[in-house]
Symmetry: C2
Subunit: 166 residues, 2 copies
Amino acid sequence: MSEAARIRPATAADWPAIWPFFDEIVRAQESYAYPFDLTSESAREIWMMRPPGQTVVLEEDGAILGSATMGPNKGGPGDHIGTGSFMVDGAARGKGVGRRLGEYVVQWHREQGFHGIQFNAVVETNTAAVKLWQALGFEIVGTVPEAFRSQKHGLVGLHVMYLPLA
Amino acid sequence: MSEAARIRPATAADWPAIWPFFDEIVRAQESYAYPFDLTSESAREIWMMRPPGQTVVLEEDGAILGSATMGPNKGGPGDHIGTGSFMVDGAARGKGVGRRLGEYVVQWHREQGFHGIQFNAVVETNTAAVKLWQALGFEIVGTVPEAFRSQKHGLVGLHVMYLPLA
């Protein structure tokens, strides 16, 4: 990434740039348990958060390299715990886009006064993601066995990961 | 419960009988992390499942004593794992309504060919529920610490529980 890379709130105008890599990542069936029949419209509903949540993009020289969502994981008496989701364009992997987005999401939750961040379903064979979250301080709280059908690995576990912020 | 007690699919006409105990349970803030500002309409959207999920009621002598939801916990490559939620009318506690509904939900998932059942957020101080799920074979996979603000107990953990079916 160049120094021009920056993270900013996503707008409706960004969706056409997000959807191609969102779609590719979901179709690969290695990291997200979203429905198979998502359209651009239904995916946009899932990804583009409304307050108190937020969706951001990482933009470099006018190109969107990745996107992340953040906000409360549950409602009411569970709304002090945040969560996030991350998508990085395949063409931009290995450049630290995921890490930059991850650091942003952690910082955002900290500033908003969240008590912790929970990731509900990290595919255990998605080792790049697992290692990144661990590097940011997340711990594996537990693993639901065989809860994800990986295209490459068959039935694999889904980690619940947690980072305390307070 | 009398022998007349039976479990059947919920219909739209059942919602007015479900909503009062649903609302009471959510307001008690001891077992569900639903938004504080639920209306009858938004709660009905959450509770009344569409296929492939299902919502049932336990009815005895024309009175609805409890209700349960069931269906896939996630989409796509995660849709082989089911989940469920349970509400029992406060006036009908201790009669085995929760157990009857729990057994029904397990059996339903078995018949539908699910690989397992995951409960995402069982409040650790809701010991009646934790013990019931353990009696049905569920195990605690992990506990997200301090993820629920209990009215009685303050910050308590949320268990992820799992029952393998295959």
